[in-house]
Subunit: 352 residues, 4 copies
């Protein structure tokens, strides 16, 4: 085997950052050569994430102290906050034009700059890069990703809705004006920023919806569903917060088109994902639990018959930090680096 | 004040039983005169629920050892398993024809014996009593309950869907063929029977749907929604289990009828519940958390605008053991006994 | 009954504040006349704690806007941060010399100003008041509390160690140089400030000790144990954080003095607390769960025999927000106001 | 590389069984050739643990249907209940005398048959094998394990107390008559049997001790501590149940012998474990969290100074299902098979 590729993780003190480090430490083809964290610059990774105490890792540094040209990084994972990301990636490409970047923020997911401006309230800072970026949902856009230099890793909520729905939309198997996505996420999806509403005592032993009617992930859903349909699709989508750490479950209500039965919808998904290592369609009528994909890069999808004639209930589950973020990001890396797609991300789920 | 009424709790070793005892111990108008529990007969309540250790309570006895005529009970709460209940209540009325009964099981909720047979797989054992029973959702059927002798306390899932929807259905404000109820419940709703799927290690840090497409609570929803509409209504309903003890939250997707806006739906609910002590409608756009009703008899309802034109998202939350079971049962007792409706059940929610 | 007493809660936006409001709303002798919260001044209580949405409460105001003399408050609960408290209480007494105050902070718990300075790193700002303050552990200092004007409500950890140990120390029944207190607390004990270490994702599904060897509560333990013993007592004490909201459990290892057996230690506690409404000693060999006192003002104590000859294991459990804070504070109010001690705080524990 | 070794897992439907399968599926040197489960015989593994749905595994069979001689298994993991184990292992050795067995039950941990009879209430059924069995705590008994045929995998509580204490006892650095071990475990340690006390609703949001003064793990501690000391050692040990799935934390109170300081105790542990891949001693004064070893085979140990002169507080944390059971078992397999000790068990901890 050739020497290892050098990778960097920008924003290593957040949860998607630590999750990348967890998997990259055991990835046989890479060496972790750079870790950045603004407020924790100068610290060791073990000080911000004690689970890494036994392992050797680079000291955390500030972004501004990095010489991108000299760094010799083959691939960079960017796990930075929204907006900051656009500036940083622009600077990286300016200094190191051949670098490959997998961006875990929302900054490059929307191809349409007008849509971006509408949902985020300001003009995009790197519209030329936004055109180049490829949306990194591997099972849907694998061919484009292989050739990409900048990959926009999809959101966790959106992955958990797009994987079950896009094959059905492409197959013209469901009505497009009557899709309801009721989504529930574990708390790690909300990040590591210290906010009152995310304290243990506020969250534990309770459940609630949020962003009802106007969540930013909707823009991403609109884009991908409309692409798949070839016309505008607008769905009902409500996110909720679960009193647990990891896992997203989407309960999706659809109406079969032109008499398509729930069993036929199931069959379409089964075929579409037959050879995919990270999407598993359960037998008809079985539905997934988030706990059965925890810590793994797997997505489980189930299809059941609703008692309302013509309707089906589709349920998908994935780990928001793995297939919904860092595992997917490494899957994207494996693709663009030409490595076997499952390298370093084939861990079996941790249950219980 | 006159002497206290004598009440009995049948099935005191389950969660709805203990919850009744918790509230009845502080209810100023009653004396707990009888507690039954089959497998724990002969034990003290403190042995099955140590939280009652400091209080004096009757020894648990077996049902068959009770002489209903001699017991002198004014009111009986029946928190027994399905089917058993029918036989027991028949026997009670035979021996003590003037007793009042609030039944917390599902046995007398369905007025239609054919519907009962379809959903439960056997003929009803006391069809004559089923005709007399009044469905005990106080805010909807208060007048009938006051005159009833046998009250069928509603289910927890159903209460959390009927309270927000029935006023809208009655007002003919929503389309009836496009209602989706995505419901999530804490684990106490599943009872205290020792089953592998309910072990802490199986439930914690995970989330799942169950009974997809065919949950028994649907029969109860059909009955009440169809009554309110004056014609058959069939809704999509999916229950889920939350990794927490108490609380149900229903996320409901509806389409306004004849141009009714979400704001108008909100207005209807606000007026309908304006004077109700136990249903609180939040300002438009705010949605409830289960934690804010925990341990209380309150239901919180919120209405928000969906971005899909013409649709609204309605969210309701209640504590499944209180307003969804034992608190509602005591509210029913207060009504039939002619006491102020809030007596003994006006505890403020316990948060955090 | 005479008109209701007017009470104020300073620091109503924290957990001990909301817990006071929860119980005071149903206390038959008081009217909540003042609620303060610095950062939330001008807001309604429902905006910081939505569970109060259905109830009428005063608007939150800033401390500096209160005219203490004109307020006409009969009793003030002070649930403010450390140090601030000293200044505020000094100002209140200056303006309203006859006010009664129950202080829930640590500021007036240490009678010795030198001990205060050592543990808190600065001179006490109101040493003259510190002399007047009475330590408000009702079951130990009831007589003094009745006559007090300023009551220092004890800490949660300390209450859960002092209630089981002080009667044994007073009875000279245990060795004083070999006491180990291993204490575990739910997260609400850490307050509502937004800190990374207290986020749900950091706390859930994990357990740890903290402040090992040097926790501030030790000063309070030293004071009370030494008072009871008539000589200096220093114990081993380790606090831990539990992934749950409410409850403290102390596991205490003691050695009987002069051949005192575990059964004799149990007997001493049983007698000491025989008539107390809020301390319940379990039968010998039984030990308590935190869940069995949740939401109630109860303390449960159990005593068991260790297999190491001569040693006993004593376990105590209470709800840190009730008997460990706000319930105890209301118990203190009831005492100084001359009301029955259990008024408004006799709720039965909420389990499950 | 030569062909893969064939391994079997007896008792695959329990948590230690599924945890073995999770790690063995990704172990490069083995093939899972046999899975047994009595009540689930004939089922697929995915039916008892849906997380294995995407993987190919042998059908579950009953023990009695296995022909041990013909099975050709190189190594057998035995994760069966107490007592059953003795009979099964006897039968295996009779049929396949060269098989290697790692037993995860408590049946062969006690070398002394009298101690076994005392703690388990009946004579050992295979005393001749009990003599051969080697206690499989790798870091302490590595040399003996390499040559063993039957390895008694240690208990989870005991591993978490023995790893921090045995080096100190061997070094004669602590007093032996004053050791207190306060241990707390996640719920998976209690297994998968459906018992009321282990239901989510009974466990969640609460904490308690159990087996106070008389837990069976004490026999194992006595044996190992006495071996290390060369004389009888009896410690205080109290187990507690945490409302979480995985993790054990032991808080240990010791007194240095002949003036040994906490810093010196720390130094002894640091040296003892300097080259161990699975025991990590934190810098002096830092103490571990269970969450930082979750899902990994790591043990973290911390040492801090108590304020009681001469005493130290030692805290150890491990994942009860990995280093406390199945990870340790695979570590033992690696040793007896002559493979690198970390093969297949070097996963980094999953946090958050």
């Amino acid at each position: 085997m050739a020497s290892k590729a050098k990778v960097g993780v920008l924003g290593a003190s957040g949860y998607t950052g630590s999750e990348l480090v967890r998997m990259l430490l055991r990835h046989p083809r890479v060496e972790i050569a750079l870790l950045t964290a603004e407020r924790s610059a100068g610290k060791q990774m073990r000080e911000v994430f004690p689970q890494f105490s036994p392992y050797e890792l680079p000291t955390l540094v500030a972004l501004e102290s990095v010489d991108w040209a000299a760094s010799g990084l083959d691939l960079i994972f960017c796990a930075l906050p929204h907006a900051t990301t656009q500036k940083v990636i622009k600077a990286i490409f300016a200094a190191a034009p051949s670098a490959k970047i997998v961006d875990l923020s929302a900054d490059f997911r929307l191809a349409d700059t007008a849509a971006y401006a509408k949902w985020y309230g300001h003009e995009h800072l790197a519209p030329e890069l936004q055109q180049q970026a490829v949306y990194g949902l591997v099972e849907i856009h694998r061919r484009d990703i292989k050739k990409a230099q900048l990959i926009a890793n999809p959101g966790c909520y959106t992955s958990c809705a797009e994987l079950p729905l896009i094959p059905l939309i492409k197959a013209k198997a469901i009505e497009l004006d009557d899709i309801v996505i009721d989504a529930k996420s574990g708390m790690t999806g909300a990040g590591r920023a210290a906010k009152e509403a995310m304290l243990f005592s506020e969250v534990s032993e309770g459940f609630n919806a949020y962003g009802v009617g106007h969540h930013r992930h909707m823009a991403e859903l609109d884009q991908e569903f409309s692409r798949a349909a070839g016309k505008e699709v607008v769905v009902s989508f409500t996110p909720h917060l679960l009193p647990m750490n990891r896992g997203i479950l989407s309960t999706i209500y659809v109406r079969g088109r032109r008499g398509k039965t729930p069993e036929e919808l199931h069959e379409i998904l089964l075929k579409f994902y037959a050879k995919e290592p990270f999407v598993h369609v359960l037998p008809f009528g079985e539905t997934p639990h988030t706990r059965h994909v925890r810590g793994s890069n797997m997505t489980f999808i189930g299809v059941a018959k609703d008692r309302v004639p013509g309707k089906a209930i589709i349920i998908a589950a994935l780990d928001n930090l793995v297939k919904g973020a860092s595992g997917q990001a490494i899957q994207n890396m494996n693709l663009v680096m030409g490595w076997p797609e499952t390298t370093g991300i084939d861990q079996v789920a941790l249950f219980p």
